[in-house]
């Protein structure tokens, strides 16, 4: 786990200890990516790390809150072991208080926390990793949500943060046109995850599919020409994944 090994594609996944992030990290490792995984929960991260390593993948854990500059230092240092980054998945997200308060009751401190993790952290981490992303002809994937466009009661803070992240994705894609770096945002759709359960405490969410439902989408997305997709937003669980017209 400490040897760099022969792997030449490097991916970094934040929020990789559980849910979609853990599923993605495993899927990437099995495809031969060296995967740097980050999550706040040290114990959960080490479990997820062990699972990837057990199945033969190369995984490098960096515990810590992704909005914390020291965690970002550690992530940048991890990437510097290779010097190039092929894939950055900004997946770690802050839902906010559970149960979800309506906007009339959303505390400013809670909104600040949501924006710091869901908007500021992906931006500052991406800024720091741009040189490595340039070398790796890297793809940046920002994980969005249908709440970014839905206006669902209770989801206002989280949804606003994801709407902001969508606009950062689009803008950065335009700013990076002509560079080897691409940026997309992905709405993974409703899934049976701890975060989704936290949004609906005590409710039965067993009708939602597990995060694995999105694997065919990721298989598709990551094998498309990144330049053609850059600047677009995708829904992982839609009936159709379209290559945009140039």
């Amino acid at each position: 786990m400490t040897d760099d090994g022969p792997h030449d594609r490097v991916a970094l996944v934040t929020g990789a200890s559980r849910g979609l992030g853990a599923v993605l990290a495993q899927f990437l490792a099995r495809q031969g990516y060296s995967v740097i995984v980050n999550a706040r929960n040290r114990e959960a991260l080490s479990t997820a790390t062990a699972e990837i390593a057990e199945s033969g993948g190369f995984v490098f854990p960096v515990p810590g809150d992704v909005s914390d500059p020291e965690t970002q230092d550690a992530l940048a240092k991890a990437v510097s072991r290779w010097g190039h980054l092929e894939l950055l998945i900004n997946n770690a997200s802050e839902l906010g208080p559970s149960p979800l308060p309506e906007l009339s009751a959303l505390a400013p401190a809670d909104l600040e926390r949501i924006l710091r993790v869901n908007v500021l952290a992906p931006l500052t981490l991406t800024q720091r990793l741009l040189p490595a992303l340039r070398k790796g002809r890297g793809r940046i994937v920002n994980i969005s949500s249908d709440a970014a466009v839905g206006g669902y009661p209770g989801w206002g803070g989280y949804g606003a943060s994801k709407a902001a992240l969508d606009l950062l994705s689009l803008t950065m894609a335009h700013e990076l046109t002509g560079s080897p770096i691409s940026v997309v945002s992905v709405d993974p759709g409703d899934m049976r995850t701890e975060m989704h359960q936290a949004a609906y405490p005590g409710q039965d969410i067993s009708d939602r599919p597990l995060p694995e439902i999105t694997l065919p989408f990721w298989a598709w997305l990551l094998n498309q020409d990144p330049a053609q997709l850059s600047g677009h937003r995708f829904r992982a669980q839609s009936d159709r994944w379209e290559v945009p017209e140039p």
């Binding site: 099995r30 495809q31 999105t214 065919p216 298989a219 598709w220 094998n223 159709r240 290559v243």
Partner: protein, 368 residues
């Protein structure tokens, strides 16, 4: 019956177990049942030249069939892998099977090494919701392996092993389907020529069909029984369809793959050129509006194809047609007989208040 499971009591006829040529019939001389809103009549496939009118447009799938079934082995022993869909790079979706007539799933865990047609592969993950399919990462060229040791995918009902040519349609131009888009199989070059001379135009789409849904029982309840497939509806075909419609001609799809491609290229703004993957599941709750007629085979009860047909003309008409076909000895399966289903004005008698299988015919929706 729940609203999402169109499982009708529908007649099923005898299956063709070999290509028509093996039965002494030219490929364009299979039988053709023509189902209009009011009746079902038996013809020969070559009669299509007179059944279609000048100004009609026939949409065909140009996907060619691959020799996608490969011998495989792992610690489990020898088996087969039917390659379904390339996702690009070294990533494939495939179906490990015990044999041609013996479906999986096989007890293979993620991370397992499998040799497929001599190419070392790793099982990356199970396919979500469809236990018999897996993601494979190939450390080598699986297309090359198919050309060396692959055979066309066949199932237990096939009487023998037939060459790849028997699984190609006259329109095949872009290899990529795991299984033959079989609706176009009865077309011969001479029939295509006659249609063109009669003023019938032909335009292409591409949809690379994955492994078929012959074993629908594998799908878990509530799961989507359709998996993503690569497709493209080109600009020229969109233009041809719009021209045909404005001139009052009919758009006739050859095969359910064509219907899925056209419906996947249709959104609130209408039809437009699209390239990507589709997993659109056409069923009675999601009516078909993009075509006026469909040439297809005869499909087994509970197949997704049947759900698509009932999305087009309703289960009552389908039940009537299948009853006539079964009684008259029409043959089911990809080497069997053919069926031209024409949309038409809605039959008021078919309206059953509260019925879950009736829906408006495409023609009426369009004229509204």
């Amino acid at each position: 019956m729940t609203e999402h499971t169109p499982v009708p009591a529908i007649p099923t006829g005898k299956g063709a177990d070999r290509p028509p040529e093996e039965r002494g019939i030219a490929r364009d001389k299979v039988r053709l049942l023509v189902s209009s809103p009011t009746e079902d009549r038996a013809y020969t496939f070559t009669d299509l030249a007179d059944l279609l009118h000048p100004g009609d447009l026939v949409i065909v799938n140009e996907s060619g069939t691959l020799p996608a079934s490969l011998p495989a082995r792992s610690e489990l022993g020898q088996f087969r892998v039917n390659l379904s869909t390339p996702y690009g790079g070294d990533l494939w979706v495939g179906e490990p099977r015990w044999g041609f007539g013996r479906p999986g799933p096989l007890p293979l865990d993620a991370g397992t090494s499998i040799e497929v047609g001599g190419v070392p592969c790793t099982l990356i993950a199970g396919f979500p919701g469809i236990p018999r399919l897996v993601f494979l990462r190939a450390d080598g060229d699986l297309h090359g392996a198919m050309n060396r040791v692959g055979t066309p995918i066949r199932y237990g009902y096939a009487a023998g092993e037939y060459p790849l040519e028997d699984y190609q349609t006259v329109f095949a131009r872009v290899p990529g389907s795991a299984e033959m888009p079989s609706a176009a199989r009865p077309f011969s070059r001479s029939l295509v020529e006659r249609l063109r001379q009669n003023g019938v135009a032909i335009a292409p789409i591409v949809l690379h069909a994955g492994v078929s849904s012959l074993e629908m029982g594998d799908f878990p309840p509530g799961g989507i029984p359709v998996f993503p497939e690569p497709f493209e509806v080109p600009t020229e075909t969109v233009s041809a369809i719009l021209r045909t419609r404005s001139a009052g001609g009919r758009v006739i799809a050859v095969g359910t793959t064509v219907v899925r491609a056209l419906e996947s290229a249709t959104d609130a703004c209408g039809l437009r050129p699209v390239r990507g993957f589709t997993r659109l599941y056409l069923r009675p709750e999601r009516p078909v509006r993009s075509i006026d007629g469909l040439i297809t085979g005869f499909h087994e009860a509970q197949s997704t194809h049947l759900a698509l047909l009932s999305a087009f003309v309703g289960m009552e008409r389908l039940r009537r047609a299948y009853g006539a076909a079964a009684q008259d000895g029409f043959l089911w399966h990809e080497f069997g007989d053919s069926h031209l289903i024409l949309a038409g004005p809605a039959d008021p008698a078919a309206v059953r208040p509260g019925g879950d299988l009736y829906f408006e015919s495409p023609a009426r929706v369009r004229n509204a």
